[in-house]
């Protein structure tokens, strides 16, 4: 599978899992896209640990340092997995993995070169010494505990957007 096929497959499968997934050809487009995605005035947690995260800070009118009180988390994630349309958050570089589960919206920034074609390739990479916490995330939080009727946003985010760059 070449890069392009991997990205296409990732976008298809992420969409199937009810994540809003789209390809951003030019990373300079990101702040504009994010200001459309994130409601004006919403409390945004963006850790600003990577270049990509720092580049998009200008899109948010209200930033908070405490993810527990944020309405939206915007962050660059460790990896993507095309086979399942998943993103992966990890406790590396001092990142708080909880930031992707507490706020009601999660926006993931995913550089295309971080997408693994299959689960096997991703886990082979982390088998020997995984970080303290790895969260493989596929779509929003969901339950079907009442009559098997799908309800979105139980404890985690009601909405997940993935921007593949």
């Amino acid at each position: 599978m070449n890069r392009e096929e991997t990205v296409t497959r990732f976008l298809e499968n992420a969409g199937r899992a009810a994540a809003g997934a789209r390809l951003v050809e030019d990373r300079r487009e990101l702040p504009r896209l994010l200001s459309e995605l994130v409601p004006e005035g919403a409390a945004v947690y963006c850790p600003a640990r990577s270049d990509l995260e720092r580049e998009v800070l200008c899109a948010f009118s209200r930033r908070v340092d405490d993810y527990a009180s944020a309405e939206v988390t915007v962050e660059e994630v460790l990896a993507g997995i095309a086979e399942t349309g998943s993103i992966v958050c990890a406790s590396l570089e001092g990142r708080a993995v909880q930031a992707s589960v507490l706020p009601s919206r999660h926006v993931a920034l995913l550089p295309a070169e971080k997408i693994f074609p299959t689960l096997d390739e991703f886990f082979a990479d982390h088998a020997a010494s995984p970080p303290t916490n790895l969260a493989v995330i596929t779509g929003p939080s969901r339950t079907a505990d009442i009559e098997l009727t799908l309800a979105i946003g139980v404890h985690g985010p009601e909405r997940l957007d993935v921007l593949v760059i």
């Binding site: 499968n13 199937r16 899992a17 527990a68 399942t84 998943s86 406790s91 001092g94 990142r95 708080a96 993995v97 909880q98 589960v101 507490l102 299959t118 689960l119 096997d120 886990f123 082979a124 982390h126 088998a127 020997a128 010494s129 995984p130 970080p131 303290t132 916490n133 790895l134 969260a135 493989v136 995330i137 596929t138 779509g139 929003p140 939080s141 969901r142 339950t143 079907a144 505990d145 009442i146 009559e147 098997l148 009727t149 309800a151 979105i152 946003g153 139980v154 404890h155 985690g156 985010p157």
Partner: protein, 455 residues
Amino acid sequence: MSEDQTSLQFRANSARAVEDESLRAAMRNATDTFGARRAAAFEAIPDLESLREQASAIRLEVLDNLPAYLEQFTASAERAGARVHRAADAGAARELIAALLKERGVKMAAKSKSMVSEEIHLNAHLEQEGIEVVETDLGEYIIQLEKETPSHIIVPAIHKNRRQVGRLFAERLGVPYSDDPQVLTKIARKVLREKFLAADAGISGANFAVAESGSLVLFTNEGNGRMVTSLPPLHIAILSIEKIIPSLRDLPPFIRLLPRSATGQAITSYLSVITGTRKEGEATGARELHIVLLDGGRTRILEGECREMLKCIRCGACMNVCPVYRTVGGHAYGWTYPGPMGMILTTLLTGMASAHPLVDASTLCGACVEVCPVKIPLVELILKLRDRRVREGFADPKTNLGMRLFGAAARSPALFDLGERCTRMAWPLIRKLGGEKVAGRLPRPVAKPFHRRLP
């Protein structure tokens, strides 16, 4: 046998369950839906058979070398900052966990779904010790409010309809009545969020424990599992010893099989891999992680003829297709695990004396064997247990006598022939004396039986 096990009353439990129309409607809806979703989910998997073979081989490899893998897991997990404890039985596990919590002054623990914790009756014990335990999985929360036990290992409140849940929430939480699952879910989100943030400890189960890295693997959909394992300063995980897989490299086949078999999803919303405690400079993870490995009779099963039962990954697929489970529901089995896997595991774990009527809870149709993602020969195991029931003297004496007579007749063609003729001649009498009640349940004798029509 635990005091509240009612497996010995399986027949009476079943008879009661069959009378309950709302239960039967709920079970039908749930098992049909899951069955159809499972089938649809596997359509996209080109070579399911080799995937099942692969998963089964990994599980067998672990069972063949379990002590070594457990040692490896313990060493790796402790290297990563966890403490690993072994508990020989339910009582030891309960006391260990209660002591850990009490020593640290824990008043309230948030809990995510764990069948092993149900098996050891953890909540009741902790509450006796003065520790509040809040179930945070929506289904578990519902049945905790209702003071019930799970009726399905994946969807614990499968036996309740939306109106029952609406009334329960209105009554217990003081919220306006609604029977919209989306609204009810939002109510639970709000109530439970406060609990997460206030909890002094998180208690979880685990789907797998990884020997090479010492990691715990949890499949969840709601996100409560992620919070329970990462927000409170103390995390206690309880799992049984056979949940080991050798390496994270072995995880992908189970990711492909478990959610598809359980709910028909290609993958759950969340898959957490937790390796030890929060390290220097990190912002995620519990400060203290205790992993309790429960034996609870599994070492004994491992040495016996039913060891393949320990390959089970608790997907629940066997239940959804089982004609008995679909009819009587989970509570009739009288212990933690229902359905085909449950009838076997319950008998093995709690002993024939506590569970022998359960081995009848099968038509031997084999639907469970066809869907099992790790290829457990469930029907073979059920037959072995039926055999053992006779050997251990728990079979019904009348059935025993009947079986012995039939066995003798079946071995002698002349005797068999005689029996056949007698039945044919006595048929009018049987009908007259027994009426429809007896005759209606028997096959009507034909003039020339099948075996004599053969050339």
